[in-house]
Symmetry: C2
Subunit: 451 residues, 2 copies
Amino acid sequence: MSKPTPLSGFPELLPAQRFVEQAVTDRLRRTFELHGFASLETRAVEPMDQLLRKGETSKEVYVLHRLQEETGGQGTGMGLHFDLTVPFARYVLENAGRLEFPFRRYQIQRAWRGERPQEGRFREFTQADIDVVARDVLPFHFDVEVARVMAEALSALPLPPMRLRVNNRKLIEGFYRGIGAPDPAVVITIVDKLDKLPAEEVARLLVDDGGLDEAQAKQCLALAEIESTDGSFADRVRDLGVRHELLDTGLEELAAVMRGCESVNGDRFQVVASLSLARGLDYYTGTVFEIYMDGFENLKSVGGGGRYDALASDGKTTYPGVGISFGISRTLVPLLQRGLLGSDRSVPSAVLVALADEESRPDSDAIAQRLRARGIATEVAANPQKFGKQIRYAERRGIPFVWFPGAGDGTDQVKDIRSGDQVDADPGTWSPPDEDRTPRIVVTTENEEQQ
Amino acid sequence: MSKPTPLSGFPELLPAQRFVEQAVTDRLRRTFELHGFASLETRAVEPMDQLLRKGETSKEVYVLHRLQEETGGQGTGMGLHFDLTVPFARYVLENAGRLEFPFRRYQIQRAWRGERPQEGRFREFTQADIDVVARDVLPFHFDVEVARVMAEALSALPLPPMRLRVNNRKLIEGFYRGIGAPDPAVVITIVDKLDKLPAEEVARLLVDDGGLDEAQAKQCLALAEIESTDGSFADRVRDLGVRHELLDTGLEELAAVMRGCESVNGDRFQVVASLSLARGLDYYTGTVFEIYMDGFENLKSVGGGGRYDALASDGKTTYPGVGISFGISRTLVPLLQRGLLGSDRSVPSAVLVALADEESRPDSDAIAQRLRARGIATEVAANPQKFGKQIRYAERRGIPFVWFPGAGDGTDQVKDIRSGDQVDADPGTWSPPDEDRTPRIVVTTENEEQQ
């Protein structure tokens, strides 16, 4: 077999990179669980009729065929899921009788889309979703909760600073109704183009296609310009002089989300009320979210979500939900590939136990086992090479300590191969510094290294 | 949308069951990492030519098609991987220049096979593999290491007792050569049928198809009968009076594996030298392994592996490997579905903070946040119902503690809802007992409960 080459859009990580992904996943999981979110995984496949309900992504679905029915076959009727929301909605309906509502779940899993690969957009990718779903009614405070939990989770990651942009569909729809827009949905779609088109162009579209006059179009653009990291957006909206009951509800809800997230705002993370945000024509009915990573504006949003008053429905019962999805592959893979993020080891081992000769392997194994029993990841040298070579072996893997059985007149010694310091040590009591127990994440943005 | 129904062969877990799977995965990972095995994940898809190299499973591969090319299309040329060995071999070749050898990796990931579902056999399943791979030469002691690591990992799981059966292809091939079998490979295939056919039938096949005389056939069956949990198998083999150099090598290697695993043998786990074991016609060249779970003989083996002198090769360089795969879905799903294994919560939360009225939500949130800051998973009541209802809310989810802000003359109180005990508590200092911090695994085999 000749040397295989990577498949475009299906990124794979080297061991030191995979450690970063694992650490990020562990930290997300930890925060989600501290807030009572239960882990869930769904199968990778869904019936095609489930996957095709969301028209716009239908072209991107991978359909499964059995090999023997490949020629002219109709396929299995199943495809790989392209997000974690469709499977979650299906799971809730299927298991409604066995779940306790409101139901908080997080789901960290892969999804697949057959779209053209580009930086941060992959055909196979991992994302982390949190959602709360209820039966019939989901109180508004859960909108605040999912924002706060995701903000707390993301601000704890060793990634560039991120922003959670928040808006509210009731607010913008109420505003458009308040100015007398004939079809608020059309206005939403047009204003949503502000990240691609210049403002004048959007204003022209609002007049030509949105049925607004120039003063109304100007109002819409004025609304979209409003941003704040606190509750001050509300006064600026009110200063525009538009009145509508739905607008008031939206303003209150957005203000509540901003208040709820006050404590997580900081250098590493900002929650921003962004009144231009609409999340397209999706099924959101209130709060909407998008996540951006500073310095990686080319990736566009690296996550998003919102409130959907009918996440799922079986005709009799409706299950409203609110959630946010974060793109793990979308953020990590570009950082790893550009070398801005990495770890200092390719193995979990903190210690390499050296080997004098093959006959003494059981002794080295016994030392390793005593260290492991105390939670210290340890491996034994593969071959009884010269000690200099065994140290090189550790060095190449980033293992910080090499253990020499009986090196100090019969007493074991351990060498920190970074400093060269070698001291007497007992495998029943010696421990590495806490920061050396597991590989360290190395962030090289702006030449800084941090854990 | 009407209520969806499960897809046969694609098991999904409820939150309390998923907790068990997570706990099992965490414990496996912990042991693997303590021994220096690095985590790896590969993409879910492989080029079809990779997947079809192993003829016998080719029929079971799921082939991916893009939706728009479904009618009469040739597919994407990719299929879902059906194990973790084929992708690992490809990954090693693809990244050989960037890996340090010998390379220890563990991989806990899903795989897919389109076969007919039955208990323990799924179309989508998770397995945990460990392998060590080297360039050119892989010292034998790694055979001992992977056996010991997997034995240690499995014996720490809350599962029924398991057995790791071990044999050695050199031992049996050397034995068959020693008795003068014209084609040892044919003999291996016939003896491998002993788990399906009675011994007399196998003896007849050895004569009719294996080209042996009756005395030789009897010798083969005598070898296959030998089992021991220590090194005594070797004397019993030698008592059969067969001599061959390859047999001696095999005996030494098997004895070394048995010696290396002595310390993990116990009530919960046994390593057994099983001289009938051959692992079919697979590409193993030395040590072979199979894992069985007591009381679940209907599942057949729940894992297996061995030494392959050419895990991967690019024509110039050969990468020998040794590894073992353990079926997580195969063991867990039947136990979960039969109700023999579960957990006592459907949420991670150890504490529910009660809510007097909606206005006091910020106070309850603040208490929850102080508990979380100290690593205690906490949620706040969804609604300010009567306290009795809030206690029921906790009960239904298995949350052991309910926190009442200011209940004791302005001092907070916490109630253990199992005992009914309610005491004054400070969110800055109170902690639940360690065993209540996370959900407990509940094993109901033989009416025992253990963590």
